[in-house]
Symmetry: D2
């Protein structure tokens, strides 16, 4: 069923819901899902509506046109997206296959509603797996002494493919600040720890040294500061003294996969709103 | 902060949200929380609003008066409750103290927003614990050969105390059908299994015999059919071959406490709507 | 690191551990992992040792020879397996790809320590995925009116491949009793509910009708009675009123995959002992 | 059933299990539970046996006497404890009642196998609750400008009561280093975050600011460095954008209670061995 998703964020005040739902009712819009959130701390209001496209007398642009005056009146940050326009996603990976294979299978079986325009990797290892899924694979090696050319090529590919979203599926390289800024709120990373614990390199090793009893993974938007962007989703798994670092890596992979795929799904369905380096997730 | 809670259920159609939110906006109602659910299967719509009492020019009855025409128009089942009018709760227990002690502590520390009018038990064991909390304790023994007099007395006490809600905190007796009907949707039980597994007696023993790897608890509204009423909340805990029946009982107690207190909290805050022997829980 | 796994089950009595550990110490055996369990209910004792192969002066057969007298003395059910002899596994699937893809990826990335001799399916759909992994694919269609020829062919293939173990990765057909008996304790199924809830067909539909708040999956050994065999592993995921049957199916897939892969891993590493239709899992 | 618990830690080498189990078999010791762990990283070996007291021809001191030569031979850190000698526990609390009430109820209902010699608090608030349970309550106010006299009094009380163990049930004060050293491995704290995230003050506030999707609690032994001691147990609960700091505090309380009571139980049953600032927990 094709839907339009109307997502707004604005300073809270009386009458927002009435105004928006009136507008939708005026045009006979059939709301299939509605979510609201008033954040007491910041005084902001967040709302997401999913509306059956065939119930409205216009397309997404038509909805944008009639909605714009309300958005202005309330000072809203807002967007309307059309479920029929699948988001274009570039996946980036390195050598580890678990997150990439998981996303590719979900895509292949129709669970992930997007278009994967290509996979970019700094290694050749995963080419065959990607190409079996009918997706272009770009090998862009990164020279540790001179990374700029590689990231210029990555930027060129991402722009050429009109990507809406970049997913770092255990890419293991830090994207340049310019790319992060240009795609702010649209670069999704999976970090293999329960942030803010174990920022940076070798988090499973850090976890083993500290002797924690649960390990986790964090899906977050990438910002300039390493592993400090808005968190979309997290989860954990129980470990014990019997698990060495290799076991943590193995157990962690399953959490990473789950957390990344859930976070990406929320993003693709326009369920995530970022405010104050935090997320509202209308799951 | 005092709020009014408007909870509705009705056949789904276009314009409900607009109508309701318009009404609230007309009176300048400040919505602190709004939840919607359209059930595709049944074609019903469910909505819960929490509105700051001090933002409206009338009290709960005033809200009921202005809302009644809308309710009629849409054929709504509905209620308005006032957070300032704490629900009157009768707790019923037997000899096991864990659920009762947990609820009493939550009440005592201000976490459970209700009035506990009394505890009724078929045994004297828990009197001192109850009375320390300043709550009346009624010992109503149940004669296995002739249960009617006991339940007449229970019914009398419940009615005398104008109870809004009865909580069976491991009461271990089956309430008579007449009482269940009279308090339909207002008698909350905790069953010590993950229903519909292990209906009836000795669920932990049944679980041990079947060799399950997780055990659970289920908080549900009581109906005439044993352990078959609408489920409010459930949870589980992992067990292993090392755990014998006594261990299951011990581990299960913690799940029972958590599940019952969460379920009761949802009920007290008018977050639960029952339809088709299932619940919508706006948690 | 190559290890021998010594797994025993016998009536409990004093001196078993001493006898076994003495034997191992006599031959200078380096125990890397040891697990014990005394079951009070049945009076049985279970033990699993993992011993470095290079620490012993003989191979697995040598270990069997020196151990046999002890086994006789204590009336043990026992086995010695050699981690260097990877178990031969036949996977069976139907049209649903999620469990199969998950197992194939784990195998491909070296996480599942076994040999997958082939995939047998009653449909052609998954051939390409299987063959990309370099594994033979056998299409054995099942005629609903006359299933015997198909299962004769399945039996023939399984025997021809000297399979140690059959994994039903959402195969959706009931194996004939003869095959279950022949491979007792070696046919692993994933059932898409938290057994014993929702035995049989369409468990997610049953779960939606009952209105449970968690759904689950169960990995178990197949016995003649449907969905009643010894449970190896289970897990659950939280759902809510917002999730319709399609959502349950989607959410359930992730639990099925995880539970099946964990259960299979335990089996492959000889961590599971069956007794009285229940399992001891030395995880 | 009365048992002796033999807990050892020593550098790993061949023959330890044989030596120990031989000794126990010699005296006809009935082992009800046995757990082993070889830590590859440190090269240490850990073992815990639970032995029926009535199966041995001597008491705990007798067991110590016959075991001492083996302990010397293998350079073991070791202890024998007698389940009949319940550990003496001093609970310390401040104003928050949830952890204290939980522990007192578990004690009262026979679930926690220990003797609670007293509760020490820097406030009077919880006196009545403690005294209802028949446990002495000591009010030792702490002068922020001059804490030494208070901690001298605490130390005096702890010593006078021959405490085996001190439990900080949300005590909210930092114990002096001298007391931590004197009771090393015997002071148990509950920290209201998933360490190492959110060390120090106001962890729920820190969690809200960071926007994490799970909050947790950590039970650990207290060492001189704040919130950095060996972790015994941890757990988490899911939160969302709807939960403000007050909600986090409320939800977190349940995790704190569970984690502290599990951690204390492991300690009381001699299931925890500390090595390298980490724990082996034979749960």
């Amino acid at each position: 069923m094709r839907t339009f998703r109307l997502v707004i964020a604005c300073p809270d005040r009386v009458g927002i819901v009435a105004k928006v739902s009136n507008l939708l009712a005026t045009y006979n819009g059939w709301i299939t899902e509605a979510s609201h959130h008033s954040d007491n701390l910041s005084g902001w209001f967040f709302m997401r509506h999913e509306i059956r496209a065939d119930s409205l007398p216009f397309d997404a642009d038509g909805l944008r046109t009639v909605f714009a005056p309300i958005a202005r009146e309330f000072g809203m940050e807002w967007r309307v997206s059309d479920s029929a326009e699948r988001k274009k996603v570039v996946l980036m990976a390195s050598r580890e296959s678990h997150c990439l294979a998981d996303l590719l299978h979900r895509f292949h079986s129709g669970e992930l509603d997007c278009e994967i325009t290509s996979v970019i990797s700094n290694h050749e290892d995963l080419r065959s797996m990607v190409e079996w899924h009918g997706i272009p694979f770009h090998h862009v090696p990164v020279d540790p002494q001179n990374k700029a050319p590689a990231f210029d090529e990555v930027t060129r590919l991402v722009q050429e493919q009109n990507a809406d979203c970049i997913v770092l599926a255990r890419y293991m390289q830090i994207l340049p600040a310019s790319l992060c800024e240009q795609y702010a709120g649209r670069v999704i990373n999976i970090h293999h720890s329960f942030l803010p614990s174990f920022v940076g390199a070798r988090p499973y090793h850090q976890a083993a040294v500290r002797g924690v009893k649960l390990i986790g993974a964090t899906c977050h938007y990438v910002t300039e500061e390493l592993d400090a962007g808005p968190i979309i989703e997290q989860d954990v798994v129980r470990i014990s003294h019997r698990d060495n670092v290799e076991d943590l890596v193995r157990l962690g992979k399953d959490v990473e996969k789950m957390v990344l795929s859930r976070g990406l799904r929320y993003h693709l369905e326009d369920r995530v709103v970022v405010h104050d380096n935090k997320t509202v997730v209308f799951s």
